[in-house]
Amino acid sequence: MTLVLQGISRDFGPVRALDDVSLAIGPGECRALYGGNGSGKSTMAKIASGILSAGAGRVLVDDRPLARTSPAEARALGVGITFQELSLIGELTTGENLVLADVPRRFGFLLDRRGADAAAHAALKRVGLAGLRGRRVELLQTGEKYLVELAKALQSHPRYLIIDELTSAMHASEVEIFAGLLAEHLAAGGGALFVSHRLPELRRFCNTISVLRNGKLVFEGALADVADDDLVKWAGGGHRDEMPASRAPLAGEIRVQATGLRPLPGARPINLAFRSGEITGIGGLPDQGQKHIQRLLAGLQPAVAGERVTLSGAALALGDSAAIAAQGISFVSGDRDEMVFARRTIRENMQAPFVAMKGRPMPDDAAILAALDRLNTRHAGIDRPIGGLSGGNQQKILVARCLLLNPQVIVAEDCTKGIDVASRNDVHHLLRELAHVQGAAVIVTSSDDQELAGLCDRVLVLDGGQVIAELSKVEQTLDAQAIVSAYMKQERAA
């Protein structure tokens, strides 16, 4: 009883994404699928679940072949998948999403509302979100969406679960829920393929590992037999996610001054200031107001009464994203759905912000290529659609775009979500350079406290829309433990 992928190859245009890769997952086995961006992990996961066809090779589920490229068939054979980009439909309620593939019926054609609600309730209860089944998915918070995605994958009682970067946008408490369900699944004799960049999570959840590099299988074996350093080297970085002591910040003038901010509805107003040459992180439990602050600064959200922001003394046109971009604030989100023009070329995606900024000269191909080189971005020519690249490489292109823009302020919302260690380092180096050398004010959030601690010069910890701690690298009060204990202390006190 195994899920077998045998001699899988797959080309995308001129790029060979997978080259004769085989792997197998037995009962109770959780196999890690590890590799750098564009190494073919996601492609492999998609072939196993019937989303993509294999150019060569075959998929066997308990000796039965997956004959067609069809997620429905893979599901019927007993394969469940959670998607990095989610398979939930925003306009439908959480409950409706859960029963879509297998709608409870009366008389064969009518929707059995009571049955559907009961099924959704049972499935959502497992992730602790049964109360949200009447709410449209687009209104959920990010971590909740990923938990619902997990509940949906488990809904068909799959024997093999394929988990593609599910945990990278989850907070620690949500990862715990996932861990419990995964253990249950494995104990019941199921198998799992776990795709993730986070080494501690791989170590925690998996017992075997397959490592891909540029579409080729470079290692397969027990996870206990390999050291982290080897894994990172294989992933393409060659060096660990080192956290160099950042050079002394320029301690520049106050660039952004925000007054009367109400990060959460009904919260007391707060004032924040961001200096040039400084990377400021905004941390805390999910959805404590981080999003409001960042989106407000980027002009993507209208101001609440009393909110006022100045950039180098001049008032910002809050709620007008184009005007704010023209004033020199660049926004990068880890949510590629809302950032990239997937069908357009890499060049056009790099040029997009310049179209909005009248008077700025368009960057030429040489400048674009130079910016991409700085981030070691793998691509088959800037004339190709950005959508053909791996998620991580798309993300790097969005960050490389900031190099061309040379903005006064960069607002980065979990911008390394789902990208590998090496690329993450590249992005970090770039953000540091933009701040410490070019003097930009950089404002970041991350679902990973370790990342905040390593990257930032200063971290503000939010809780309920209030700043409950300010940690600084210069004063040596900043590390991941300090961030966690700041918000956990608050949690316990409440």
Partner: protein, 330 residues
Amino acid sequence: MMLRQVWSHPSFPAGVLAVLALVFALSVNPGLLSTGSMIGWSTSQLGLWTAVLGQTLALMGRGIDLSVGAGVSLVNVAAIALFEAGWPTAGVIVAMLILGLLIGAANGALIGWLRLNPLLATFATSFVLLGLTLQIRSAPGGSAPMAAVMFMNGATWGIPNAMLVFVLVLLLWGLVARSAFWLRLRATGADPVRAWNSGLPTARIKVMSYVMAGFFTALSGLFVTFCVGAGDPLFAQPYTLLTIAGAVIGGVSLGGGTGSGYGAVLGAVFVGLTSDIALGIGVSPFWQQLIVGCVLLTGLAVVVRAGRWLKAKSDSTVTRSAFETKGKAA
């Protein structure tokens, strides 16, 4: 909570608009409430009200049906031709329903299986259907069985039979709206890629949505036949755009996935009333089109803006109350 569900419903603005239009129409023409006027109004609108449900099915799956008008016309003239050939009424009804399903299946196959753009595919089929219609009958004429026409233009207890027939159509629609298929169609229209990734047979769902749309097209064509009593190759041609306008005013999204059939009917009622109002206030026929167009534009703008505003307001209430309950729980 219940109240919010009413005002945040995508059909709410269309309902308000339809009521306002009705009040206005009555104020310019109080005689509208007489049984005779009601019969005239409902028999002239029944075909449109039914056809808009077919359009709703197509729109819901992120498609569109530009062949509605031609399809209704084809059913109309084909039915008259069969009557003239001596077919019994029941036989004609069954044959026409099958014809409608075939038209829908053709559109569905082009869009779902050959993956042609729905706008262009149905635009092309509309000419095929129009050509067939003109082959059968190039000018108005012929006649439907008197008994059926008398029934459709009659009234029971002061209520026009056409309206009673439409109640049956709405009951039929109720089955569609409560079906498992409707949920899967909404999912497919809202996000085809994610729906497919979720294991839905999206191509088959799209084909089915057009087949069902064809059924409502056939019903509409039969109603036109029995209400008008004759075959007219051009009578229903405006239905194509009127159904789209009605559906959109009724809260059905052109992008697929949102809206309801009842809202679309309210939108179609409003669209139909505008011309009645223009007639009622007695402006010169040369100004009528202009006035109807302006009223439609206003209706569209009001409904779309108000719908968005109400939805945003409802959503912020939902997320805020979620935050407050979370705060209490902590």
